[in-house]
């Protein structure tokens, strides 16, 4: 079992979701974060003082998958989020020790699917 954490551009969320659904990955948690890559981002100007985006809005996805779904999920996220420009984001893969479905108290691979 793996936990995928992906940081993507906020405006790519819909496309990523679309690709994930196509790959039959229907479980997802989404949160809004501030983040910082090597890009300059979009400038913000407040009464003349420029703020060249230090922390920009990003979207974080957390998806728990069974091992067989790992590559398809990574491919789906990449397909949905990629623009080829800096700021596309990153995907992290963590080992997942346990997963519990609260409603039925099932554990393990069944709980993920």
């Amino acid at each position: 079992m793996k936990l995928i954490i992906a940081i993507i551009q906020p405006y790519k969320l819909e496309q990523v979701k679309e690709e994930l659904y196509k790959a039959e990955v229907n479980l997802i948690t989404v949160s809004e974060v501030l983040g910082h890559g090597r890009q300059k981002g979009v400038t913000e100007v407040y009464r003349g003082s420029k703020e060249t985006g230090n922390l920009l809005r990003k979207v974080r996805l957390e998806i728990a998958v069974n091992d067989s779904f790992l590559e398809p999920t990574i491919k789906a996220i990449t397909k949905g989020a990629k623009t080829g420009e800096t700021g596309d984001g990153k995907i992290f893969v963590l080992d997942l020790k346990e997963c519990v479905r609260i409603r039925t108290e099932e554990r393990g691979h069944i709980a993920i699917g």
Partner: protein, 408 residues
């Protein structure tokens, strides 16, 4: 000159001005978070640009007495528009009071169209479009319906506070703009929901409040007619808000605040042409029915034809305005306003036909010329933003500003 009348008209002018920021929040709450500032900006820049345009050119084009397409150029820069009354328009208030009252109508009318092209129009194109639209559509139509010598006024069209000049006018422009601009990206997968419903409610409240100036102020005097307009305005808004809530309750299972707000605004739109001509029971009927018509326009007709009138400027303002203009032809009574006419239900079917004709003229003229202006602006500078800009949002891309912070 009457100080009570003057005070009332000045207050009404301020109330109508308040409606434009009210509209800004009404619309602003409905768009996605990334575009809220663009809506507020469009409304506020209109307040700035058109206020100046009005005193320099617009008032003269709209209200100088003449039988022409426009009023005339004699009052450019308010030349000859002084502080003594101009009795042909309003005998008991300074001429400039009438002028500034009308200014607020000229400001809010193009702001209504924002609802159709929200979230995808280039700011520069929007400015050019608004100026051309005001000059070639608002001013002539205003002249024809309200100006001395105006041909629609002369055939007896009744429009107390702007059902035709403001709402049908802007509403048709909205439909045309929505169609030619095209739908927002990813609409089917990504139904945009209002990002801040409390703003929508706040906006509605400001609109309802300001509308008393819009309608009752159009009596141009602090008198019985103003009171009639005030009373029927409140009544129609109330009955329409209730009506929409009931329709939703019955059809969808639950009434929503968005529905009550939409209904109230629709009711206010519909009573606008009628406020100085109908009494309170017709006002209730007008309000009850406008929500039915607008509800159908928004939930049935829009999905059926597939145009992306983002914030229902056509569905509420145009449809509501058309109903209001026709209802004026049905329910107008000389008992309310001896200077007006009787409507169909008071023994004069001819008024209904005059109203219908006026509606058709407005629809055709505004529709065609809005299309032409749009195409011209699109050719010169391009009207719609590109896909990436639309995805990122107009606030950051057109204005380099962000409305809300998450962490600091």
């Amino acid at each position: 000159m009457n100080s009570g009348d003057t005070a009332w008209v000045l207050i009404s002018s301020a109330l109508v001005l308040l409606m434009t920021p009210g509209l800004a929040f009404f619309y602003g709450g409905m768009v996605r978070r990334k575009n809220v500032l663009s809506v507020l900006m469009q409304c506020f820049i209109i307040m700035c640009v058109l206020s100046i345009w009005w005193v320099l050119i617009g008032y003269s084009l709209s209200f100088f007495p003449s039988k022409g397409f426009w009023g005339g150029f004699q009052w450019l820069g308010l030349n000859g528009v002084g502080l003594e009354p101009y009795p042909d328009y309003a005998g008991t208030i300074p001429h400039q009071a009438f002028m500034i009252f009308q200014a607020m109508f000229a400001v809010i009318t193009p702001a209504l169209i924002i609802g159709a092209f929200a979230e995808r129009m280039k700011f520069s194109a929007f400015l050019v479009f608004t100026l051309l639209w005001s000059t070639f559509i608002y001013a002539p139509l205003c002249h024809w319906v309200w100006g001395i010598g105006g041909w629609l006024r002369n055939i007896g069209a009744l429009d107390f506070a702007g059902g035709t000049v403001v709402h049908i006018n802007a509403g048709i422009a909205a439909l045309v703009t929505a169609i030619v601009l095209g739908k927002r990206n990813n609409l089917e997968k990504n139904i945009p929901t209002p990002h801040n419903m409390p703003f929508v409610v706040l906006g509605t409240a400001l609109l309802w409040f300001g509308w008393f100036g819009f309608n009752a102020g159009s009596a141009l005097a602090a008198n019985g007619l103003a009171v009639n307009a005030f009373v029927v305005t409140n009544t129609a808004a109330a009955s329409a808000g209730l009506s929409w809530a009931l329709i939703e309750w019955f059809r969808n299972g639950k009434p929503t605040i968005f529905g009550v707000c939409s209904g109230a605004v629709a009711g206010l739109v519909a009573i606008t042409p009628a406020a100085g001509f109908v009494s309170v029971v017709p006002a209730i009927i007008i309000g009850l029915l406008v929500s039915v018509f607008c509800f159908i326009a928004v939930t049935v007709i829009k999905p059926l034809f597939g145009y992306d009138d983002s914030l229902d400027a056509f569905g509420v303002h145009c449809v509501g305005g058309i109903w209001g203009a026709l209802a004026t032809g049905l329910f107008a009574s000389k008992l309310v306003n001896p200077v007006g006419s009787d409507g169909l239900f008071f023994g004069n079917p001819k008024q209904f036909l005059i109203q219908l004709f006026t509606v058709l003229v407005t629809v055709v003229y505004t529709g065609v010329v809005t299309f032409a202006i749009y195409k011209l602006v699109d050719m010169l500078i391009g009207v719609r933003v590109d896909k990436k800009t639309e995805d990122i949002g107009l606030d950051l891309t057109q204005h380099h500003e962000r409305a809300y912070t998450i962490l600091e």
